[in-house]
């Protein structure tokens, strides 16, 4: 409590492109915001060196981000939490970083998206903050998130068929750059509209009988491309239309007062493969897979950190679904030992298999 807001230098772990809305939230603190350096292999090496060996991989990436941020001078770190081991990431990481001799404060936002609770934590670090301003930051951050998710979704489904290689990546990067400059909902709407139009005008050639594949599984490895070896881009490069339903917009829509209704809904879709919830987002993985099967998708990739309990629970239900409907599901685990070559082999084989199958079904 001794420090004035302006002396804080705030940082947080990376997760995909959500740096933009996170910065919007963090700017409530009226202090310097320093996102960690871009993720590299060094991030993982640092994180893995100081993490418990058997902890799930997102923990190691987060810790690596914190160390690189602290080394740059950050002194206030944020961490969220969820309904699995993620729920105690913050406490354990705080203890590890203290043992390493770093001086910092850690703010834990575990426990969902309770705006009032978050507000109090921000307010205690910046006494000048008021509720009206906080709400404005929250609304802007959510609107930025929604724009990000919608634009990314469109790019994901189309990047595999671009005529000019890298056209979607380059437009998307520019979009993220402009989104970072938005200061009002109207700004976001303008940027989103401009890039929706631009992305729609990128020439694509969609072949006959293209493959449609959904990716499901654990949130972090789905949303942080570095942690899944850019699997969406790799699939796109193999001419696949990629669909993903896990993103922060959907998490917000399905949280809070909508939570119970959503849970009832997905357990209904996952039936008969699941009749009760299996923790964190495991039920979601089974429900989405079953829905995509009914919608005629060609296959599903299930991604999880090695040892992720909720997703391990989902696997046996997914295996049964896959067996009973001969619906291809590829299971991929990520940890600090994952080999990129091994992943490429499995993706190649999966896409070949889906193509052979499709040709046969069509014949």
């Amino acid at each position: 409590m001794s420090r004035a807001g302006s002396e804080y230098r705030v940082s947080f772990p990376h997760m995909g492109n959500y740096t933009v809305p996170i910065v919007t939230l963090a700017s409530m603190l009226d202090c310097e915001i320093m996102p960690p350096p871009k993720m590299t292999r060094r991030t993982l090496e640092l994180g893995a060196r100081y993490s418990p060996e058997f902890v799930c991989i997102p923990f190691k990436y987060n810790l690596g981000n914190y160390i690189e941020a602290l080394d740059q001078g950050a002194n206030l770190l944020f961490q969220a939490g969820g309904g699995c081991r993620f729920g105690y990431y913050g406490e354990v990481q705080e203890a590890i970083l203290q043992d390493l001799g770093y001086e910092f404060e850690m703010v834990l936002l575990a426990g969902g998206f309770g705006v009032l609770e978050h507000y109090n934590k921000f307010k205690s670090r910046n006494p000048r903050l008021n509720m009206v301003r906080a709400i404005r930051h929250y609304r802007l951050a959510f609107r930025q998130t929604r724009a990000l998710d919608r634009i990314e979704d469109f790019a994901r489904r189309n990047a595999g068929f671009e005529v000019e290689e890298g056209a979607f990546d380059s437009a998307f990067d520019r979009f993220v750059g402009e989104l970072a400059e938005t200061r009002s909902i109207a700004d976001v709407e303008r940027v989103e509209a401009a890039y929706t139009e631009e992305l729609r005008s990128i020439p694509v050639e969609r072949p006959e009988g293209l493959l449609r594949v959904g990716i499901v599984g654990e949130l972090y490895v789905l949303m942080e491309p570095f942690s899944n070896f850019f699997i969406e881009r790799e699939l796109a490069r193999r001419g696949v239309e990629v669909h993903r339903y896990v993103n922060v917009s959907n998490m917000v829509d399905h949280g809070g007062r909508n939570k119970n209704r959503h849970l009832r809904e997905i357990i209904g879709i996952a039936d008969p493969y699941l009749r009760y919830h299996i923790g964190a987002d495991g039920t979601e993985s089974v429900a989405t897979t079953n829905r995509l099967r009914q919608e005629g998708f060609d296959g599903v990739l299930h991604l999880k950190p090695f040892g992720c309990m909720p997703e391990v629970n989902a696997m046996s239900a997914l295996q049964r679904l896959s067996r009973e409907h001969t619906f291809p599901v590829l299971f991929i685990s990520f940890d600090s030992q994952t080999s990129e070559t091994g992943l490429a082999t499995r993706l190649d084989a999966f896409c070949d298999m889906l193509r052979m199958r499709k040709r046969r079904l069509g014949a």
């Binding site: 046996s316 084989a349 070949d352």
Partner: protein, 330 residues
């Protein structure tokens, strides 16, 4: 006659075939990789060239396919039309011989996989992750410990009446369990039969987990040559397990057939085995990611490279390499 070359360079062994347009094998070669895929490929090419010259002098290789863990490297060296993952290659090869197969077991030197086939199309597969317990290299390291040639493992196993139970979950623990069983007096036949059971148990519980295993079953890869493991598979599945004499060549045959179907032809010259190829590896150093970039050189000229995350990495390493070559020349 048009012919197709398929090369499968695995961690332990290198396999190659020359096949005709109908998938009949005209020449075959199988030898140890010995950690040097370039040398191994040159040796299989020599053997194939001799066999083709002797038996099918009119055969002309018009397309080349490469598979196995060294497929990128070998594909670049041979100028292959097709570089394919080993799972697809095995499925295509096996289906060309056994059109009715519904389950393919494959256990190689360091990996094991299962391919589920329905109506002549692969519909599901799995490959071992993180751990090599229950693969060929596990068997050969245990063979060394027991001082029994790995080629004779199968015959030993078949002589056993009461296979010893060996913990097969992990190579290291299997080894200590095996030593323990030997020290308390279990005969070597029973221990070897137990090892075969452990491999099969491990396989079915890992890559085979949750898969619907239906006959006809074809078993291939180096370990399929071990009759003890074949019998363990038959006991565990209650089905006949078929092993093709050419089972170890299915990856090579498969990728030759994929190359045939690709439809891009150019005459292949076996004399490529006399060309000097080398690889150089270097960490990029352009950013903290430090990609390990590998370049393949043919008579000192760059032909291909990989390992870079971004385009800058390849440029950096090539430029650096070129300047180091220049500065070495007085």
């Amino acid at each position: 006659m048009k012919a197709y070359l398929g090369v499968d360079v695995g961690s332990i062994s290198t396999k190659a075939v020359v096949a005709d347009g109908d998938g009949q094998v005209l020449a075959r070669s199988y030898l140890w990789t010995e950690g040097n895929p370039l040398r191994a490929v040159k040796r299989v090419l020599s053997e194939l060239a001799e066999q083709v010259d002797a038996a099918h002098p009119d055969a002309r290789v018009v397309a080349v396919g490469a598979t196995g863990s060294a497929r990128e490297l070998i594909g670049a060296v041979l100028g292959a039309q097709v570089v394919k993952n080993e799972i697809t290659a095995h499925a295509v090869g096996t289906l060309s011989r056994h059109a009715d197969v519904r389950t393919i077991f494959e256990i190689g030197g360091q990996d094991s996989k299962i391919i589920i086939v329905r109506d002549g199309v692969p519909v599901d597969y799995a490959m071992n992750t993180l751990c090599a317990a229950g693969t060929g290299s596990f068997l050969s390291s245990q063979a060394r410990r027991l001082d029994v040639p790995v080629e004779e493992f199968g015959d030993y196993a078949l002589r056993s009446k009461k296979p010893t139970k060996i913990a097969g979950r992990c190579t290291v623990f299997a080894e200590s369990d095996l030593v323990h069983k030997a020290q308390i007096g279990h005969p070597v036949e029973d221990i070897i039969a137990g090892l075969c059971n452990a491999i099969v148990g491990n396989y079915l519980n890992n890559v085979g987990k949750g898969k619907e295993i239906l006959a006809p079953i074809v078993f291939q890869g180096g370990v399929s040559k071990n009759v003890g493991v074949v019998k363990s598979f038959e006991d565990a599945t209650g089905e006949e397990v078929y092993v093709d004499d050419d089972g170890h060549l299915m990856g090579a045959l498969g990728v030759a057939l994929v190359a045939r179907d690709e439809g891009v032809e150019s005459l292949f010259d076996f004399a490529v085995r006399d060309v000097k190829f080398e690889t150089v590896g270097e960490e990029c150093g352009g950013c903290p990611n430090d990609c390990e970039v590998v370049l393949v050189l043919r008579d000192g000229e760059f032909i291909d490279g990989w390992g870079n995350r971004c385009a800058r990495g390849m440029e950096r390493v090539r430029t650096h390499l070129a300047s180091s070559v220049e500065s070495a020349v007085p």
